[in-house]
């Protein structure tokens, strides 16, 4: 529909002459569903030139994968191209017979699918699956194919390729499987490689390796790449040309850097503002619930300019971060968020000491088990009113720690102290009291709410379990909680299956807050959400923290999120704590190789962004408000936890954990 209005249509012939490898014009894709036709893609225009990388960015449901899949005609059976054209190498392939498309697949257009776990046939050796791809495209057969397969796997960066080719997919790790899939996608030397979220299921360091490798490989071979991703930072880092999709339409496209630094469409602006990999500062909530960046705090002059260091490391202001522990913990020392601390003088709410968990793993014979140390001698403190993040890759034991803190698992050794009391010995009433004060929020928004319970019943459940109030006071409380998580009270009568992921997560937050807990353990609480929704939920969590003086134990694999929400960071690797300190220290002066690698792997981290300046401009206009938020106003608003007379803020000097 945008064909006539799009400025690019004018030079369509010109671009054709220049030899676009792939040219999509006014593409419409419609799905026929039970509730009528759904226009998944509308009027999309897009070109890919030989050898370049083009990224399509968008949230789930934006039509990015649908657009890409339509190129190789791999749409689900109820999806159809209903308008526009797809030209590959100058030839219109929109409606040619399937046979011709089949000839293109693999040999001209390669595909690297999203989920490395389900895209390899578990019954076949990895090598023979690549052999198959070679044979199908007429590249090689028999012994020649086997030889070529080993070469391809080597090329895809798989060590010991010859042996690996003879193994089955279950013997491969996620990263290795993705390498095998890349080898398969490139087996017949296609000219265009469609990579659909090739690394979103992988750990961040693995993601970086794989993408680096994919980059070099495609550059060497001159393969054009169409990269589909939800991660703006990753897209900007890997692609020269960026296409932003929203609700089935391309809202903005152009040179990657230009879009990132000078976004025009409000949606792109929103996306860039929300992208955690591009954001760089600890969120700071104001009294009216709006969250602003920590830079504003710096501008307000309360803790001095060094807080601004939590910005990007590119500007060489890192030393300032190390300048003083006091300022380094700026956000943590924020007077408002420490509100609760003054109530009780104890500032450490949860103390984890030498926590170890050993799981018995089934060995070769069923009656003999081998011990597996999932968590090994982990110690850290969670201070009242602050956020401590435990960050690590899959298998680092971070969730196991969370489960032990919640006492859903018993530690093998070590202790978890809640306000100085060992939770292991708690029983009956004591345990119920602890349950009231420590609440979890889980990762999967679809699994965390009982589908049989209405929203009202879900949020009321904890009140009922603990016998709090009567029916009418409970209802009032539920209304109040819904209001806190910014959902309308009319939501009460609904059921989880009617809500979106972000809304479910907010309901989960409301349920966790029902008992007025002091500590909330967020186990990957935002990982499953789209970036804009994730941003919203993070802001909500942050606002609630400043309003209620909550302490968060935030478990995540996403360092970018850590930077936004955490005051202290604990980095875990293979069950051990490799580094911990204030978030600023960890981000600006990482001591361990592992931490450095993790930080370097944050996609988009290296991109010079105009964002910092833009925000500083904003700061100037917002100073009074930001100032007020950080100052005395908070005492007034925070009625539940009035600041006591303790003049000493225990957090002002909290540089190290």
């Amino acid at each position: 529909m945008s064909a006539t209005t799009a400025p690019r249509t004018g030079d369509q012939p010109a671009s054709a002459e220049a030899g676009a490898l792939l040219e999509i014009r006014d593409l419409d894709i419609t799905f026929s569903t039970g509730s009528g036709p759904v226009h998944a893609v509308r009027g999309a225009n897009l070109e890919v030139y030989p050898g370049e990388t083009v990224a399509i960015v968008g949230e789930s449901g934006s039509g990015k994968s649908t657009t890409a899949m339509s190129i190789a005609r791999l749409l689900p059976s109820n999806g159809k191209v209903t308008g526009g054209s797809i030209r590959f190498d100058g030839k219109d392939i929109t409606s040619v017979p399937l046979g011709q498309i089949r000839a293109l697949r693999g040999s001209e257009i390669g595909l690297v699918p999203q989920d490395p776990m389900s895209n390899l046939n578990p019954l076949w050796k990895v090598g023979s699956q690549i052999d198959e791809a070679l044979a199908a495209n007429g590249v090689a057969k028999g012994a020649a194919a086997t030889k070529r397969t080993v070469e391809l796997l080597e090329e895809a960066g798989l060590p010991d390729a010859e042996r690996r080719a003879g193994q089955y997919p279950h013997e491969f790790s996620g990263g290795m499987r993705q390498r095998a899939l890349i080898a398969m996608g490139l087996a017949a030397r296609p000219r265009l490689l469609i990579a659909d979220e090739p690394t979103s299921a992988l750990d961040v360091t693995v993601q970086q390796q794989i993408l680096d490798h994919l980059d070099t490989l495609t550059a060497e071979l001159g393969v054009a790449v169409l990269l589909i991703t939800h991660d703006l930072g990753l897209a900007a880092e890997r692609a020269q040309h960026l296409v932003v999709m929203y609700k089935g339409q391309i809202v903005e496209s152009g040179p990657a850097l230009q879009i990132l630094q000078d976004p025009q469409h409000p949606y792109t602006k929103r996306l860039i503002a929300a992208a955690p990999s591009l954001a760089s500062r600890r969120l700071v909530s104001t009294k009216n619930g709006e969250a602003q960046d920590a830079t504003e705090q710096a501008a307000s002059g309360a803790t001095g300019g060094s807080v601004a260091v939590s910005g990007r490391a590119t500007d060489g202001d890192a030393p300032a971060g190390g300048a003083g522990p006091a300022s380094g913990a700026g956000p943590a020392g924020d007077a408002g968020r420490g509100a609760d601390a003054q109530r009780t003088r104890e500032d450490t709410v949860i103390s984890v000491q030498n926590l170890t968990k050993v799981f018995p793993l089934r060995g070769k014979v069923p009656w003999r088990t081998t011990p597996f140390t999932a968590v090994d001698d982990v110690s850290f403190d969670l201070r009242r009113g602050t956020t401590t993040a435990i960050v690590g890759e899959s298998g680092s034991g971070k969730s196991t720690v969370a489960q032990m803190v919640l006492r859903l698992l018993e530690p093998t050794s070590g202790r978890v102290l809640f306000e100085g009391q060992d939770i292991a010995g708690m029983k009956g009433k004591e345990m119920m009291a602890l349950r009231r004060r420590v609440q979890p929020i889980f990762q999967n928004p679809y699994g965390t709410l009982d589908p049989m319970y209405s929203i009202f019943r879900t949020i009321e459940e904890p009140l009922r379990l603990h016998g709090i109030g009567d029916a009418s006071s409970r209802e009032a409380k539920v209304r109040d909680l819904l209001d806190k998580v910014a959902l309308p009270a009319s939501m009460m009568r609904r059921y989880p299956n009617e809500l979106s992921g972000g809304q479910r997560q907010r309901i989960a937050i409301a349920r966790a807050l029902a008992l007025d807990p002091e500590v909330v353990v967020c186990d990957e609480a935002v990982s499953a959400l789209d970036v804009l929704v994730q941003d919203q939920v993070l802001h909500l969590l942050n606002d609630l923290q400043s309003e209620l003086g909550l302490s968060y134990l935030f478990i995540t694999h996403d360092l970018a999120v850590v930077r936004q929400i955490a005051d202290h960071t604990v980095v875990m690797e293979k069950g051990r704590v490799v580094e911990h300190g204030s978030t600023d220290e960890v981000f600006h002066d990482p001591q361990q190789e592992y931490t450095k690698r993790l930080l370097a792997a944050i996609p988009g981290g290296s991109i010079p962004l105009a964002g910092a300046e833009t925000i500083e401009v904003d700061v100037d206009t917002d100073v009074p408000e930001a100032d007020g938020a950080r100052g005395d106003d908070r005492e007034g608003t925070d009625g539940h936890h009035p600041l006591g007379g303790d003049p000493e803020d225990p957090f002002s000097g909290a540089g190290h954990v």
Binding site: S2, E237, H265, R270, R436, Q443, M452, S490, M491
Partner: protein, 318 residues
């Protein structure tokens, strides 16, 4: 990380395209439709059910069968237990809607009264077997460990015993004069295993869900969790299986009474058996009770199918 952004591309001047604003108006992030009526899982299932013709047909048939079972006398004037040899082997018509048997029983009346036996045996057996199966299956799945091992093995032992064979042995061991309820009990004792297996599987998959953990963290005890979260979420496939089982039990009861193992009450199975000697002369005598049996069983199987469709989590929007 690629630091150079130097284009290795043939792209001509890469212009910056921005879609006109009015074309895709920005919606609020995570907007929600608060206008539609809220719907629970059961509400939605019911909504789907009444729109499913299979459900409507089977439900109407079952209602009709229930009505007949309750008031068979409304549909016929004949006494099914009174044979009148004067009207032996009559063709349909002449006052006897479906004719009479060799003994002079009215076929239509016997079919109507036979409904009562079939449905009550089927219903009681279904209830008893479901209770046994759910208790054992839920306990095995929820508690796990060696209790699960033991209960699963016990279930498999019972699973290995054929329903009808087991019932025949039990009947033979019992003295005559068993009540309808005893027949149902015997069938249930040999027919609960699939319910137990299905309950166990469903409980296993539900108990590892986050909402159960969340409830534990809220302070709910194990039994509270089982009763309030796990079982309600695991019960849908059990209902489906129980519905189909009802049909199976009706068939089993017919088989037993065909073999002469019954309590003498009017039953389609014994009628089929009685009609067998006259198969050549009067095949319809065998045909009518068979049709009644088939319609009855088919209704329950169709109902089970429709309920399965309605409760299928994949069919529900997530």
């Amino acid at each position: 990380m690629r630091s150079d952004h130097s284009p290795r591309t043939l792209r001509p001047a890469d212009e910056h395209f921005v879609a006109p604003l009015d074309e895709t108006p920005l919606r609020e992030v995570d907007a929600v439709d608060t206008t539609a009526a809220p719907r629970s899982m059961w509400g939605e299932a019911a909504h789907n059910l009444i729109r499913n013709p299979v459900f409507v047909v089977s439900a109407l048939l079952i209602l009709l069968l229930l009505f007949i079972a309750a008031f068979p006398g409304l549909f016929t004037d004949f006494d099914p237990t009174k044979g009148d040899l004067g009207v032996s082997n009559q063709k349909p018509g002449d006052g006897h809607l479906l004719g009479t048997t060799v003994q002079g029983y009215d076929v239509w009346a016997r079919i109507l009264y036979g409904t009562r036996t079939s449905l009550s045996v089927g219903f009681f057996a279904m209830v008893i077997s479901t209770v046994i199966g759910v208790v054992i299956g839920a306990f095995a799945g929820y508690v796990g460990g060696w209790i699960d091992e033991v209960l699963s093995r016990v279930t498999e032992i019972f699973f290995a015993l054929p329903l009808v064979l087991g019932a025949i042995v039990a009947f033979t061991a019992l003295s005559s004069g068993v009540s309808t309820f005893t027949i149902a009990l015997i069938l249930a004792v040999f027919g609960w295993t699939n319910i137990a297996r299905i309950t166990r599987g469903a409980v296993l998959s539900v108990k590892s869900q986050d909402f159960v953990t969340a409830s534990t963290a809220l302070g709910a005890g194990k039994l509270t969790n089982l009763a309030k979260h796990v079982l309600p979420n695991a019960i849908a496939p059990v209902i489906v299986t129980a519905t189909v089982n009802l049909g199976v039990f009706i068939v089993a009861q017919a088989t037993l009474s065909y073999l002469g193992l019954g309590n003498g009450s009017i039953s389609w199975g014994s009628d089929i058996s009685d009609a067998q000697p006259a198969l050549r002369n009067n095949p319809m005598m065998l045909f009518y009770p068979s049709v009644a049996l088939a319609i009855c069983v088919l209704s329950f199987i169709m109902l089970g199918d429709a309920v399965r469709d309605a409760l299928d989590p994949k069919a529900r929007k997530r």
